[in-house]
């Protein structure tokens, strides 16, 4: 059941993003930035967490889930670190994914031949 939900919900988010991009004739970068911001805002209002509980990877794998992680990491650190968490909190939950992408990116640039 969780697999079906992940497929349908994750697919639906991508479908909406594609529709918005095609109908507004905008670029992928605008859609990606907008998605992260929307996810962060929804996370701040406490709307994304129940959505993530419901849809699992369908909600957390697409980019709005990244925005949600930024905010939820920050909110989690607020009671412990106070205002410092406004600066330090967001990377706590997302650092692993960002660093993984950087490491694999640099490694890939080492092992692949430059394509013209």
């Amino acid at each position: 059941m969780s697999y079906l939900l992940a497929f349908v919900v994750g697919g639906a988010l991508c479908l909406v993003a594609q529709l918005v991009m095609d109908l507004t004739r905008t670029t992928p970068a605008v859609i990606l930035v907008g998605s992260v911001m929307l996810g962060a805002i929804a996370g701040g209002f406490g709307l994304y967490e129940p959505f993530a509980k419901f849809a699992g990877a369908g909600a957390t794998v697409p980019l709005p889930g990244f925005g949600f992680s930024l905010v939820s990491g920050l909110i989690k650190e607020l009671p412990k670190e106070g205002w410092v968490a406004l600066f330090s909190g967001a990377f706590k939950a997302t650092g692993a994914g960002i660093k993984a992408a950087l490491i694999f990116g640099i490694l890939a640039s080492f092992v692949t031949r430059a394509r013209a």
Binding site: A6, C14, L15, A17, Q18, V36, A90, A100
Partner: protein, 147 residues
């Protein structure tokens, strides 16, 4: 020429986008990638990760899969078909980091790979952080430090 007029001319010359077909493929490709993400997450939880600790390793594995697909040249083909279905998931974020890292290798390790690696991911992270900061301030103002 006025910017508005220019935009109208560009729109007239731009090829029509097959909107329904793009949307369908975005759904299918995005759905499959999220399904894979769920398989990874459930698999990790089966070997002892909790709901709290499973997020980071799931992200790392999905990023690895996206990087592998990019290095092998498969991900670009998936993205051509799936559009946002391939770009919106975290594997697409990985692709957005790994692809320029590889592509700009010829401009050097520092100003090529090093500088271009954030070409697409940079704006996403920058505005994501800014939004999280503002949202955090609002929450802090309203609720103090309460989670």
């Amino acid at each position: 020429m006025e910017p508005k007029e220019y935009r109208q001319r560009v729109q007239r010359l731009e090829p029509q986008r097959p909107i329904a077909r793009n949307a369908l493929w975005a759904f299918v490709v995005g759905g499959i990638i999220c399904l894979v993400g769920q398989v990874v997450q459930s698999g990790l939880m089966a070997v002892g990760y909790t709901e709290e600790t499973v997020k980071a390793p799931t992200a790392i594995i999905m990023v690895f899969l996206g990087a592998l697909g990019t290095a092998l040249g498969v991900y670009d083909r998936i993205a051509k078909l799936g559009g946002m279905g391939a770009n919106l998931p975290i594997t697409g974020f990985s692709n957005a980091v790994v692809a320029p890292a590889m592509e700009f290798k010829q401009e050097g390790a520092i100003m090529g790979t090093g500088a271009r690696i954030f070409q697409i991911a940079g704006p996403v992270i920058a505005y994501g952080l800014l939004t999280a900061f503002v949202v955090g301030i609002v929450r802090f103002a309203i609720m103090g430090g309460k989670p």
